[in-house]
C-alpha cells in the first residue's frame, strides 16, 4: 500500500506542485511556440510526453551501466532516438500535425524538461518510479500547454480546437496568436500561478537559470559564480 501511495505521489507532483512549465519554468520554448492553437499544443504535449516516458524508462534501466562522466551525451542519444521515432510516427499518421509543429518536433531533443528529468530523477531511481515520474511530468506539461493554448486560441482566433465560437470569431484579437501574445499570456499566467502559490505559502516560481539546467554540474558559469543564483543577483560579472 505504502509503495502505491508513493508512486501516486511521484505521478501527481508533476501535475500541480512541480508542474514543469508553471512551477519549474522549464521548456519555455515549445510552450510559447506551439500554443497558437489547442490542436498543436495537445500534439506537442503528447509527443513530448511519449518521449519523456520512454527515455525515462530506458535511462533508468541503464543507470548502472552508463558511466557518470559521459552520462549527458548518453542521455542525449537515448532522447534523440525516441524523438526520431516519434517524428517518423507523426509524419506517417498525422501529417497535418507535423506541418503545424514544424521545427519544434525535432527540437524536443533539447527540451530541458526531458534532459532535466533524466538528470534529476531517472538517472537515480528504479524503472517503475521513473516511468511514473515521466508520465506525471508529461501530463503536467500537456495540461499547461492546453491551458495556455485555450486562452490564446479563444481570444486570438475566436475558436476552440478549430471549432469557431459565435460572436468571438467575428473580430478575434489577432495579437494573441502572434508571438507577442505568447509572451503576454505566459507572463499573466505566471503571475496568477505565483499568486496562488503565495497564498498557500509556497515559494514563487522563478527562472532557475542554473539549477534547472542539465549542464549545472559541469558548467563553469555556475562554478565560478558568473551567473549568480537567483537570490543574489548582485554578484559581479567576472567574465571580462
Amino acid at each position: 500500500m505504502a509503495e502505491k501511495k508513493s508512486l501516486f505521489k511521484e505521478f501527481s507532483k508533476g501535475i500541480v506542485i512541480e508542474n514543469p512549465v508553471l512551477r519549474l519554468v522549464l521548456g519555455t520554448c515549445p510552450t510559447l511556440a506551439t500554443t497558437t492553437s489547442v490542436q498543436s499544443a495537445l500534439g506537442m504535449g503528447l509527443a513530448a510526453s511519449i518521449v519523456l516516458v520512454c527515455s525515462n524508462i530506458v535511462i533508468s534501466a541503464l543507470r548502472k551501466v552508463i558511466p557518470s562522466k559521459v552520462r549527458i551525451p548518453a542521455y542525449i542519444v537515448v532522447i534523440a532516438s525516441f524523438v526520431t521515432v516519434v517524428q517518423m510516427l507523426v509524419k506517417a499518421f498525422t501529417p497535418e500535425l507535423d506541418e503545424q509543429l514544424g521545427v519544434y518536433l525535432p527540437l524536443i531533443v533539447v527540451n530541458c524538461i526531458i534532459l532535466g528529468r533524466a538528470e534529476a530523477f531517472a538517472g537515480k531511481n528504479p524503472v517503475l518510479a521513473s516511468a511514473v515520474d515521466g508520465l506525471g511530468m508529461g501530463v503536467g506539461f500537456t495540461a499547461a500547454l492546453f491551458l495556455m493554448s485555450s486562452v490564446r486560441e479563444i481570444l486570438g482566433a475566436g475558436s476552440f480546437y478549430g471549432i469557431s465560437i459565435p460572436l468571438l470569431s467575428n473580430n478575434p484579437m489577432l495579437i494573441f496568436i502572434l508571438p507577442p501574445g505568447g509572451f503576454f499570456v505566459f507572463g499573466l499566467l505566471m503571475a496568477v500561478v505565483n499568486r496562488l502559490a503565495e497564498s498557500r505559502g509556497k515559494p514563487r516560481a522563478e527562472l532557475r537559470g542554473c539549477e534547472a539546467c542539465p549542464m549545472n554540474g559541469t558548467c563553469k558559469l555556475h562554478n565560478e559564480g558568473t551567473i549568480a543564483p537567483p537570490q543574489e543577483t548582485k554578484g559581479e560579472v567576472s567574465a571580462s
Partner: protein
Amino acid sequence: MTKGLVAILLTAILTQNFVLSKFLGICPFLGVSKKLNTAVGMSAAVIFVMALSTAVTYPINLLLESKDLAYLQTIVFILVIAALVQLVEIILKKYIPALYSALGIYLPLITTNCAVLGVVILNVQNEYGFWESMFNSVGAGLGFMLAMVMFAGVRERMESCEVPKFMRGLPITLVAASLVSVSFLGFTGIVEHIFG
C-alpha cells in the same frame, strides 16, 4: 544571388527573429539578459557556434541524404553540435586563451540551446545551399544578439521600476519581452518590400 543572400540575412535578423518570433533560445534570453556584458558575451558565443555548426553539418547532411539516411538527422546533428562545442572549448583554451576567456564560459550552456539545433534543422528544411545556410545562421545569431542587447537594456531600466507585487520577477519580464516582440512585428513584410 547576392540579393537573395542579403534578403535571407535580413529576414533572419528582423522579420523572423529567432527569439522574438520563433521562440528559440528563450532560456538564455530570459536567464542571461540581466547584464549587458553577459548578454553580449553569450550572443557572441551563439553566433560563433551557429556559424561553425552550420559549416560542419552541411557536408554531413549531404552525406546522410546521399546514403538515404535522412531520418538520422536529429541524432547526428545534436551529437555533432555537442562534440563540436567540446572540441572548440579545448582548442580555444589551448591556442587562443584571449578568446577563450571571453567566450569559453558560455560554450557548455550552448550545447543544449535549442537555437543552435533549430537553425541547423531549419536550413535543412528550407533546402538552403551552403552560402544560404551560412547567411541564415549568421543572421539568426545576429538577431539573437540584437534581441539580447535590447532586452538587457529594457531589464536594466526595469530594475528601478515600482512593479506591483504579484507581477514581480518572471511575469513582468515576460510582459516586457512581449512589448519588445511587438516592436519587431513592425518589420513584417519589410524584406519582401525591399527585395520584391
